[in-house]
Amino acid sequence: MILQIALRELRSLFLSPLAWIILGVIQAIMAWKFLGFIDYFFTIQADLIKIKDAPGVTDLVIAPLFDFSKVLLLIICPLITMRLLSEEKQSGSIKLLLSSPVSMTEIVLGKYLGALLFFIIVILITGIMPLSLLSSADLDMGKFASGMLGQFLTIAAFTALGLYMSAVSSQPVNAAAGTFGLLILFSIINIAGNATTEGNNFFNYISITHHSIQMLRGIVNTADIAYFILFSIGFILLSIRQLDSQRMQS
């Protein structure tokens, strides 16, 4: 049942121009950026040879590309997740779900999975691009895989947050604004962690950036993975609770 709801969500996404526009725009921007990083790599390649244990093409092209991709994901995430629940509430189609023999958990998980599947497509097609270097360069596949994992975990967390904002608000635009604000907050909150000496561990710990940056360097830490999983599960649970309480009140 979760899969049915997810596939319907994905199908509706691809029936609207929004999904195609996002895929196209992301691909174009990423390609441009990719080209820029490769260009930069060529200009400093000569100097790199002189350095012992110099960073390779994975560190100088793929890692910054993935880092940049997170900024794009942060921008497109609210556009996709804002509709998930608030649009259904607005149009009244959520009554079909609520009057069907489907639990609130299944509804929320179905919606979450639907959006997540779309983002998996996004990170896969942007991930294919650096793989084209395989024909002419030695890529560190371990670092590449850990970078992709980082992308996936990041967007999984973004989506959960977006879903929750969509559950809270009855209008998609409000959900988008809220998601956008919170995502930026979670991304930059570690600046406070770096600035102050006291309590910087806490700010670092709740920051998305702090946990995703390690994976770009090829370090997969269970604490980081746990952070993303807990973040996602937390907001999914909050969404379920939110919908349940709306059923009681509204």
Partner: protein
């Protein structure tokens, strides 16, 4: 056999306002219950509670014997619900949408196609099954809404104002459809169109300001005949009761009586003749209109509802 729906003492409050106050609804197999009431009376809230979209503030709902709050999945399987605004996805085609609805209602994969064709045929959507829902006219969207409510052949069909926005031909077709469905299923429909209730429903329940104020079968309504009789002379009640066709009679004012009887409408001539022959001084002999409209207006015109219920 137990009732399809047994909802007892439902309450629903939104912050300070009480939308539904102590409403009980029962529905039997093969019955079409019309839920009547002015706008904002609490009809939609009642229906939403019955199909699990809203949780009641207090009360108990049994669907086919299964408690809607304890075993929601088992209970909801037997319900098909059309909200006041059909819950459609405009970007899907009619077929895709109905498949999705059938899946949500946990119809077996092998049966989906068959049931979908049946629902499409029932609702007269054969020529539109591959069109996008967003491109259909309002009337056809309404039909798609009805199709999703009946696709899993539920025991109970709940329709919230199903005939809004339909042209007269479609209106007649949908009424036929409801009558046809009503033979095998139990149906609750809410409306504020009175002729519709008289045309299709077997029982009427009226809701006013969140309270249930009237609950009678259409059969009862039709048989409930009353006559007001006013005379010049002072005649005692016993003689009045002897008049042809009178079952009960009571004095409402000086020389004015209210006569009740099932065969009263056939006895008007006999009564007037009796009055004239005995020189009672007949002033007025008028059947009291007991149409649904009269009752509806009486009950909702702001007077004490219980008083009216007794009078009617």
């Amino acid at each position: 056999m137990s009732a399809l729906i047994q909802a007892h003492h439902l309450y629903k409050s939104y912050r300070d306002t009480h939308a539904v106050i102590d409403v009980s609804i029962e529905l039997q197999q093969g019955e079409i219950l019309g839920l009547l009431g002015p706008n904002g009376a609490g009809k939609s809230s009642c229906l939403q509670m019955l199909c699990g979209v809203l949780a009641p503030s207090a009360g108990e709902i049994l669907i086919n014997g299964a408690d809607l709050l304890d075993k929601p999945n088992q209970a909801k399987r037997n319900i098909g619900y059309l909200p006041d605004k059909p819950p459609l996805y405009p970007e899907l085609t009619v077929n895709e949408y109905l498949n999705y609805a059938a899946n949500l209602r946990r119809v077996k994969k092998s049966q989906i196609k068959n049931l979908r064709e049946q629902a499409i045929q029932h609702c007269g959507l054969e020529d539109h099954s591959t069109r996008l829902i967003g491109n259909l006219s309002k009337g056809y969207q309404q039909r798609v809404g009805i199709a999703q409510a009946i696709i899993h052949q539920p025991d109970i069909i709940i329709l919230d104002e199903p005939t809004v926005g339909l042209d007269p031909i479609q209106l007649a077709e949908i009424r036929q459809l409801i009558l046809k469905l009503g033979k095998q299923h139990g149906i609750i429909l809410s409306t504020h169109i009175l002729p519709e209730v008289q045309a299709v429903c077997s029982r009427v329940q009226m809701i006013h300001q969140g309270k249930s104020v009237f609950n009678k079968t259409i059969q009862d309504l039709k048989q409930n005949h009353k006559i007001r009789l006013q005379l010049q002379r002072n005649i005692d009640l016993e003689s009045i009761k002897q008049l042809p066709g009178v079952d009960t009679a009571k004095q409402t004012a000086d020389n004015t009586f209210l006569l009740c009887g099932e065969q009263l409408h056939n006895s008007l001539a006999g009564i007037s003749q009796h009055c004239v022959e005995n020189s009672w001084g007949l002033i007025e002999l008028s059947p009291i209109d007991n149409t649904l409209e009269q009752i509806f207006l009486n009950l909702t015109s702001g007077e004490d509802a219980h008083h009216n219920e007794q009078a009617s």
